[in-house]
């Protein structure tokens, strides 16, 4: 969701106005950012996305005054906050369950794919698209979401994920290829399941 330069200027001004207490400016920012943030969180934490998003916005409003930068940086800043809240949430949940499952596995489990790909050919709903993306290895899923859904560039996405821009680019490209592969196979209902084919050789997706 790239913004034109004029729009970007407006949004940057909106951030400054919101920092000064302008409620309308804040609403504009919220509407620009929240849908993507929520979708990202849905892939990370599933049904708890709304709760985690609330926590994230609470922190965003609390720390808003300290933010410095343009709107792209602001997107990245909010995404970082949301991601941290999501990881906290997953740790809590894992602890509650008494499991020692690594976060990444929980992510994969929460975002378990179902057979949505079968109906994806005609018109892909946002929900179905997110489920397909969620079925990717988590680093690819995150890279694709941050770039496509939240509109971050590779550098900003890398900052959110604590990786280099190049690593994010590679992960996102792999994710796209994998999605394309699955879509190409989606005559079968098994399309979404990860296969030990071409992608089975992929290196460990975690770092």
């Amino acid at each position: 969701m790239p913004a034109s330069s004029a729009e970007e200027l407006d949004l940057r001004a909106a951030v400054v106005q919101a920092q000064g207490g302008d409620e309308l400016a804040f609403r504009l920012i919220y509407r620009m950012i929240h849908p993507g943030l929520l979708r990202y969180l849905r892939v990370l934490v599933g049904d708890d996305a709304d709760d985690v998003a609330s926590e994230a916005w609470l922190q965003v409003t609390r720390d808003l005054a300290t933010f410095r930068g343009d709107f792209d940086a602001f997107r990245g800043w909010t995404a970082t906050i949301a991601r941290h809240r999501a990881l906290d949430h997953l740790r809590r949940r894992t602890r509650r369950r008494g499991e020692s499952m690594p976060v990444e596995m929980v992510l994969t489990e929460v975002a378990a794919p179902d057979d949505t790909a079968g109906g994806a050919l005609e018109s892909i709903s946002t929900e179905a698209a997110l489920r397909l993306i969620a079925a990717l290895p988590v680093d690819q899923a995150e890279a694709v979401l941050l770039r496509v859904v939240l509109g971050l560039d590779a550098k900003t996405a890398g900052r959110v994920l604590g990786k280099r821009a190049g690593a994010v680019r590679v992960a996102a490209h792999r994710g796209l290829r994998r999605l394309a592969e699955q879509l190409g196979e989606c005559g079968t209902t098994e399309a979404v399941r990860p296969e030990a084919g071409e992608y089975g050789r992929r290196p460990d997706p975690q770092r």
Partner: protein, 314 residues
């Protein structure tokens, strides 16, 4: 209908798709572009349900530091007006508030309550000092004032004045008045002065009628508030047709109010930081200002800043 077997996506195409840019026809799988577009589609029903909650959090969130103007256009408009009014208001205020304003701006409140002598500087009427019982008394002087105040009440209320004065508790009053026969006149003066005085709990209060209108000053010494040498002063002064109220905390922070010709205002004066608000004729402004007090600036340097402009005042 596109081919079921997608062409392998090149890096350039992948990058374009990730940016949301249209991919050249045939260069990438349509379905993938559709999928990404769907994932990034505009908000749907329910996705913005949290907006009001977020806005509620936003409303109570701290604002950016004062260097970030909150409402710049308005503050700019007001500032010019305020600066004019400020001078008039502070001039008037300085007359009524007298020593308190000067003290506040010189960076150290003279702790007038504690000394009991400077609470009202430009007044013809006797000042009345009252110290709240809950706070440590700055000095015996202020304490006696409070006592005398009560004693005068008791004296005037007593059915038999002579018998009342005979009680040991009244000895202080008799002494202060300069003799039993002087008590009546003394108390009349004291109680008359009370009419113009506002007594704030915890503060020493002084009353005076300034030429600028009616004014009430109250100030407490360092011992009066806390025990860390913090002075607290309250000053209120009325200009012709206006009214004001102010609070000043010595050497730490201060708030003062002065009324302009037709409005009401609030201004702060502190060596460190102050809260200031001043009303222009017909308008109202408020802001936070940092002021550096210089001895020479006296009461006229009362910090007035509209909106949240950086420390531009005096």
């Amino acid at each position: 209908m596109t081919t079921r077997r997608p062409r392998r996506i090149g890096r350039g195409d992948a990058e374009r798709m990730l940016r949301g840019a249209p991919v050249e026809a045939g260069a990438g799988p349509d379905h993938l572009a559709d999928l990404l577009a769907a994932a990034a589609a505009p908000a749907r029903d329910g996705e913005l349900d949290g907006e009001e909650a977020a806005v509620a959090a936003f409303r109570v969130a701290p604002l950016a530091p004062v260097t970030q103007p909150r409402r710049e256009p308005m503050s700019k408009l007001l500032l010019a007006k305020l600066l004019t009014v400020k001078v008039a208001a502070t001039a008037l205020g300085a007359v009524a508030v007298g020593g308190v304003a000067v003290a506040a701006s010189t960076g150290g409140l003279p702790l007038t309550g504690g000394r009991g002598d400077a609470a009202v500087s430009s007044t013809a009427t006797p000042s009345v000092e009252v110290t709240a019982p809950s706070l440590p008394t700055p000095s015996a002087g202020a304490h006696v004032s409070a006592q005398l105040f009560g004693l005068c009440h008791a004296y005037t209320a007593a059915a038999d004045a002579g018998a009342a004065l005979a009680s040991p508790g009244m000895s202080a009053l008799v002494t202060a008045a300069g003799g039993r026969d002087q008590v009546g006149g003394f108390c009349a003066k004291v109680l008359a002065a009370q009419a113009g005085a506002t007594v704030t709990p915890g503060l020493a209060g002084g009353a005076d009628g300034g030429t600028a209108g009616a004014g009430v000053d109250a100030s407490a010494g360092p011992a009066g508030v806390g025990k860390r040498g913090l002075g607290l002063g309250v000053g209120a002064s009325a200009g012709p047709g206006g009214a004001g109220l102010g609070v000043g905390v010595g050497s730490g922070a201060g708030v003062g109010t002065h009324a302009g010709p037709t409005g009401a205002g609030l201004s702060g004066q502190v060596p460190g930081a102050g809260v200031a608000a001043t009303a222009s004729p017909g308008g109202l402004g408020s802001g936070v200002a940092t002021s550096t007090a210089s001895p020479g600036a006296a009461g006229l340097s009362v910090a007035v800043s509209a909106g949240a402009s950086p420390p531009a005042h005096r």
